[in-house]
Amino acid sequence: MAVEHRSGLHNLGPTRTGRDGGGAGSDDDGHVIYSVTEPGRGEVAAWFSTPVQRTQPPRDELAIKLALAVTVPGVDVDAVIQAQRSATMAALQDYTRLKRAAQAKQEEPAGMAWSLVLDSFVFAAEAEIRWLDHSEARLRRAARERQPSSAPAPASVDPKVRAR
């Protein structure tokens, strides 16, 4: 058995990528090597069988920015939303491209693992864009209700589509 470690785990954790300058703890192919000691087995089993704690919402800069954009006078909220939507969409396009590249290596456990991690990025980016869409729709409805007649009529919403 490899190096003893107090927790029973040796180097279990997020893979180091080239980006953080490391390679520490990984082999030539970038795989992190870990092994489990006897006393660690129970702890590992417990770790895997316990759901990850949902802490209180983390500090969300985007939510804070949008909240401020809505309250601070003179900010073009539509522009703030669209700029973020485009940026997040571009990231989502990148993840999707990486996913397509990863699809070829799905049979290997490492390929499947990478693919699942990318899925997680996709879901997170998608959720952010849906929240932006939702915020925009709410703001527009509120604006319409504030000035029912004076605003130039926006293209009316097709009721059969809205029902979806």
Partner: protein
């Protein structure tokens, strides 16, 4: 060679007139080249379907011009436009639009037979298209004997049969679960990688992300655009497309 397959030039579409006029599209310009998949995103009522029906010659612009492979659709008479629709342009809709009384192969073969092709040749082309989308073995089933995802594959086969160069898809994943939806996007993507030009209308970001470019519509106007071919990648330098 560097001519776009689809070229919308300053296209507007107004429904009705006077105080009840609805400006479904306002001065929209979009070019889609061979090998490219472009996604159009926007909330309900933003003009996505209008853009697609204009691109496919199912509707005419109030002003501006729609060119498919360099030919202005509005310059064609009824007969030529209909022929263009059957031979150069393929459609995929959210609700599949398959004819219930026809088998999968017959649904796919129909546009070619309407175009005067011998039915044996049309069936051969249909089987090839169904095989390409992964359901060759279901060719003789009727739509109600197929799952939603399988029906959408038939619809895609029908849209691509006969090497059509422009594929237009309006919410093709709307009725499908996430994984099946991704499969359908994979098929559209593959077709574009093989040289077709594609336009995908969707309100779901995860599907739009398969495109090379994403165009955002609001109230009939293009408000922004993203590209996927940025030189930097967030995570690693994967091969481009």
């Amino acid at each position: 060679m560097n001519q776009p397959v689809l070229d919308l030039r300053d296209v507007s579409r107004v429904h009705g007139s006077g105080s009840t006029a609805v400006h479904a599209l306002r001065s929209v310009g979009v070019q889609v080249y061979a090998g490219e998949l472009v996604a159009v995103m926007g909330p309900s009522g933003s003009g996505k379907s209008t853009l697609l029906t204009l691109a496919g010659g199912l509707d005419r612009p109030s002003s501006g011009s729609v060119l498919v492979e360099g030919t202005a659709l509005e310059s064609l008479d009824q007969g030529h436009r209909a022929r263009m629709r059957r031979t150069a342009i393929g459609y995929v809709f959210q609700d599949f639009n398959l004819i219930p009384a026809l088998t999968a192969a017959e649904n796919v073969a129909l546009p070619r037979e309407l175009d005067g092709e011998r039915s044996r040749a049309a069936r051969r082309a249909a089987l090839a298209a169904l095989t390409e989308v992964g359901i060759g073995e279901l060719a003789d089933r009727f739509p109600d004997e197929l799952s939603g995802g399988q029906q959408q594959r038939v619809a895609i086969a029908r849209a691509v049969v006969g090497e059509r160069r422009l594929i237009l898809a309006d919410e093709p994943t709307g009725a499908l679960d996430t994984e099946t939806g991704e499969d359908i996007l994979g098929l559209l993507r593959a077709r574009c990688d093989a040289g077709a030009a594609g336009v995908l209308v969707t309100h779901e970001a995860r599907y739009a992300a398969w495109a090379d470019r994403v165009v955002f519509l609001r109230d009939g106007r293009i408000v922004d655009e993203t590209r996927a071919d940025r030189p930097d990648s967030l995570l690693e330098t994967g091969k481009t497309r």
